[in-house]
Symmetry: C2
Subunit: 423 residues, 2 copies
C-alpha cells in the first residue's frame, strides 16, 4: 500500500521514524504527509532510511552527483556519494549523463542508504542520442515514460519531472525578454522538443499517466523548475511565475491522486527577492514542500558558488524552503570533484542548520560547542563540528608553542584563557 | 586641517574621490561625513586611497592579518596583505602579536595603499609582557596612550579602541549568565585590567584625551565591541546592549569633537537576530557607520567560518551594516595562512556584493556576467569574476572533449547551447 494511503488509516512506520528523528508528534507528521505539506520519498525497492521534507521539519540537504559526457567514473561517483553521506547529506541525486548511467544508478542505489533522486529525462535524451544523427528533439513520448518506469522499478525514490514546461509557459518565456533564457537542462530539452515538434510536453499532457506510475511504483514527484532564472537579472520574472502557477495546479492533481509531490525553485535570486519567492511558492502550491537550488545571490563568483548559494539557501530556508539542493565550487565551470562535493555539502549543511536555528531547531549542538570552546576542550569542539576531520586538520597545521591549551591565533593572549584567570 | 573640519567649509579632495568611486553627489557625501554617518579613514602620514564607509555607500570589506605569538613572518604577512588587496579588500587591519610588531606595521603601511587599521592595546600588552613576570593587568595608562600616539604618528588610519568596556558594562556582564563570557582579546585585556586594578578603563575615563589624539593625528576611531557575543546563545544579551549604549554616547562625544568614529558589532548572531542588531546599533549610535565581524550564524562549523560569516555578513549588510570584517576558514582553530586570507576575502566580498545588489548597487557586473554566460564567452566570464584566476583554474581542470564551447558539467547537453539552437 502506498505510504499516503496507509497514512490515511494509521501511522506508518516511516512516519514514526521521521517523527522520532525530528522530535515531533507522529500524528502531526502523519497529518502533514496526508495533506501534502510533507513528503517522505521512499521507494520500497530501495527502502532508504526515511527522511521527511516539509512544514515544521528540519531543513534537509540534497547533493547532486553524477558522471558527465566528458568525465565518467563509477568509482569517483561512489566516492562522491560516500563523502556526501559522511558529511550529513539527507539525499542524493544522481544526474549522470556519461558512461553506463544504468550501472552507475544501480551501484548508487546499492551503496546509498539515503533517498536517491534522478532526472529521468537525461537518460531518455542520452539513449535517443545513441541513434545516429538523432537529436534531443527526437525523444519519443514512450521513451520518456519508459525511462521513468524503469528507474522507478530500480528503486529511485524521487524524480525531477519538468511538467511545467508547457506551450503556454514557453510562449511566455519568449515574450519575457530574459538575458539567460533557460538554464535548466531538462527545461531546455523539453522546450526544444515542444517548439520543434509543435506538440505539448508529454509530462504535462500525460500527467495522469505520470501520476499513475508514481502511485504504482511509490516514488515522489519533484516538479522541476525548467524556467528557473539563470541569472539574478532574470529572477522572479513572468516566465518563472507562469511555470510556478502551472506547478501549483499540478500539485493539486497529485494530491487528488495521493501522489507525494514537492516543487522545485530557483536558482539565481538577489537577497531582497528571496522572501517573495518563498511566499509565492508556498501560497500558489498550497504549502507543498519547496526544494530550492541555491539560490545564488550574485552571478559574479564562479569558483565560489557554494558560498553564494549558502547565503541564499540559508535565507530561503529561514523563510520556509524545506529542502536545499547544494551547489559546488565548480558550478558554472566544470564537473565537480570529490573535494568539490565535500565543500558543497558542508556549505549547504551550514545554510540548513543556520535556518533551523533561526526557527528554534537544533540549538543543543551550538550550545555544546560554545561550552567546549569556553573550556578550551578541543576534542569536545571536534565532536560538535559539521566536519570534525577538517577542523582537526586546520588546528594541527601549526602547533601552539606558548600554550598547548590555546591555538596559534592568540596563543597565551587567548581571551578565553584570560577570562578564566581574571574575569 | 582635519578632514571633517575641511568638509565643514568645502568639499575635500578625498570626498570627491569617494563620491566619484561610488557614483554619488560629492555634496551628499560631504554632508554625511560632517554629520558622522560616513567615515573616510585617512591618516595623512599614510595617505591611502580614500574609501568611504557608511550610509548610502557600497558595503566595504576589511581583512585582518598579522603575526601571532606562535607564528611570525613578515614575509608571510606581506603576502597576505597583497593577496587581500588583489582580491579587492577595501581595508586591512594588522593584528600582529608576534615578533617585531613595529617592523611588521611599518612594512605594511609602506606596502598597502588601502586604509590600515590596528588594535593598539595588543602592542601595549605585548610590551608590558616583556617585563619579567608582568601580566596584561600590569599595563600602565600612559603606555596605552603612548602606543596609540606612536601608531598614529606612523600613519595608522583607524584604530579599534575598546572604550565601552567599563566598570558598568563588566558588572552587567557578570550578571548576564553568559556561556562564552568575553571572546574579544582587547575586551578580555581591559576587563581583566579593570577588575584586577579596581579602576575605570583609561580609554573610557580619558576618552577626551583619546579624542584629542585622534583629532591631532587624524585617525578614525573604531569603537570596539569588547563584549560581543562569542556564541549564538549569547547574542543580543544585556552585556552586549549595555556596551552598545555606552558606545552610542561615545559617538556623540566624538562628533562634538569632530573626530571620525564608527562602531564595531558582533560576532556570533543567529539569522533571526541580525536585523534587530543592525536596527539597534543604527538607532542607538545615531547612524554611525557599523562595522561587523561576521556575524557567524552558527557555532558548529569550525574550518568553514568564512561561510558562516558570509551568510551573516550578507544579511547584516543588507539590513544596513556598512563594513564587513572578514573571517577565515581558520577562525577558532589557528592563525590563517595566505590561502585562508584568500578564501576569507572572497567570501566577504561575495557577502558585501550580494547586499549591494539587494540595495540596487553594482548590477552592471552581474548583468555583464549573465550575458557572457549566455554567449558561452569564457573570457568574458573570467573578466567579471571576483577571482578570475581561480575561476579559470577550475574550468581548466578537465578539458571538455565533446564541445569546446561548453564545460565538463554538461558537455554537448549544455542548456545554453540547446537554447541557442532551438529556443
Amino acid at each position: 500500500m502506498a505510504l499516503i494511503d496507509e497514512a490515511r488509516r494509521r501511522i506508518p512506520s516511516e512516519v514514526r521514524r521521521v517523527a522520532r528523528r525530528e522530535s515531533l508528534d507522529p500524528e502531526q507528521v502523519r497529518r502533514r504527509l496526508v495533506s501534502g505539506r510533507v513528503v517522505i520519498p521512499c521507494n520500497p525497492v530501495h527502502a532508504p532510511g526515511p527522511i521527511g521534507i516539509g512544514e515544521g521539519l528540519g531543513v534537509k540537504v540534497n547533493v547532486n552527483i553524477g558522471s558527465s559526457r566528458d568525465r565518467c567514473s563509477l568509482r569517483e561517483e561512489l566516492l562522491k556519494a560516500r563523502a556526501a553521506v559522511k558529511l550529513g547529506t539527507d539525499a542524493i541525486m544522481d544526474l549522470s549523463t556519461g558512461g553506463d548511467t544504468r550501472a552507475i544508478r544501480r551501484a548508487l542505489l546499492k551503496a546509498v542508504s539515503v533517498p536517491l533522486g534522478t532526472v529521468p529525462i537525461y537518460e531518455t535524451a542520452l539513449e535517443t542520442l545513441k541513434t545516429r544523427s538523432a537529436r534531443v528533439i527526437d525523444m519519443s513520448e514512450d521513451a520518456i515514460f519508459a525511462t521513468i518506469e524503469r528507474q522507478a522499478r530500480e528503486g529511485v525514490d524521487f524524480m525531477t519531472v519538468h511538467c511545467g514546461i508547457t506551450r503556454e509557459s514557453v510562449a511566455r518565456l519568449k515574450k519575457s525578454g530574459r538575458i539567460a533564457d533557460i538554464v535548466s537542462r531538462g527545461g531546455a530539452f523539453l522546450s526544444a522538443w515542444i517548439l520543434h515538434n509543435e506538440k505539448e510536453n508529454p509530462l504535462y499532457s500525460d500527467y495522469d499517466y505520470l501520476l499513475e506510475l508514481a502511485r504504482k511504483h511509490e516514488f515522489a514527484l519533484s516538479l522541476g523548475d525548467g524556467l528557473r532564472p539563470g541569472c539574478i537579472a532574470d529572477a522572479t520574472d513572468r516566465a518563472q511565475l507562469q511555470e510556478l502557477i502551472i506547478l501549483g495546479e499540478l500539485v493539486d492533481r497529485a494530491r487528488k491522486s495521493r501522489v507525494q509531490a514537492m516543487v522545485e525553485g530557483p536558482g539565481h535570486v538577489p537577497l531582497d527577492q528571496i522572501e517573495a519567492n518563498i511566499r509565492a511558492q508556498k501560497t500558489v502550491c498550497k504549502g507543498a514542500p519547496f526544494y530550492v537550488l541555491g539560490p545564488l545571490v550574485t552571478d559574479i563568483a564562479p569558483g565560489y558558488d557554494h558560498i553564494t548559494s549558502a547565503i541564499g539557501g540559508a535565507l530561503a530556508a529561514w523563510f520556509g524552503a524545506d529542502f536545499l539542493c547544494y551547489v559546488t565550487p565548480s558550478e558554472h565551470l566544470s564537473l565537480p570533484t570529490v573535494e568539490d562535493v565535500r565543500q558543497g555539502t558542508v556549505a549547504s549543511r551550514i545554510a540548513a542548520h543556520a535556518a533551523d536555528l533561526a526557527r528554534g531547531i537544533g540549538w543543543e549542538r551550538d550550545i555544546a560547542m560554545a561550552r567546549a570552546r569556553k573550556a578550551l576542550d578541543w576534542e569536545g569542539q571536534f565532536r560538535q563540528a559539521i566536519d570534525p576531520e577538517h577542523a582537526r586538520e586546520v588546528r594541527s597545521r601549526h602547533k601552539p608553542r606558548k600554550s598547548e591549551r590555546t591555538c596559534t591565533m592568540c596563543g597565551d593572549l587567548c581571551a578565553m584563557a584570560i577570562d578564566d584567570e581574571f574575569v
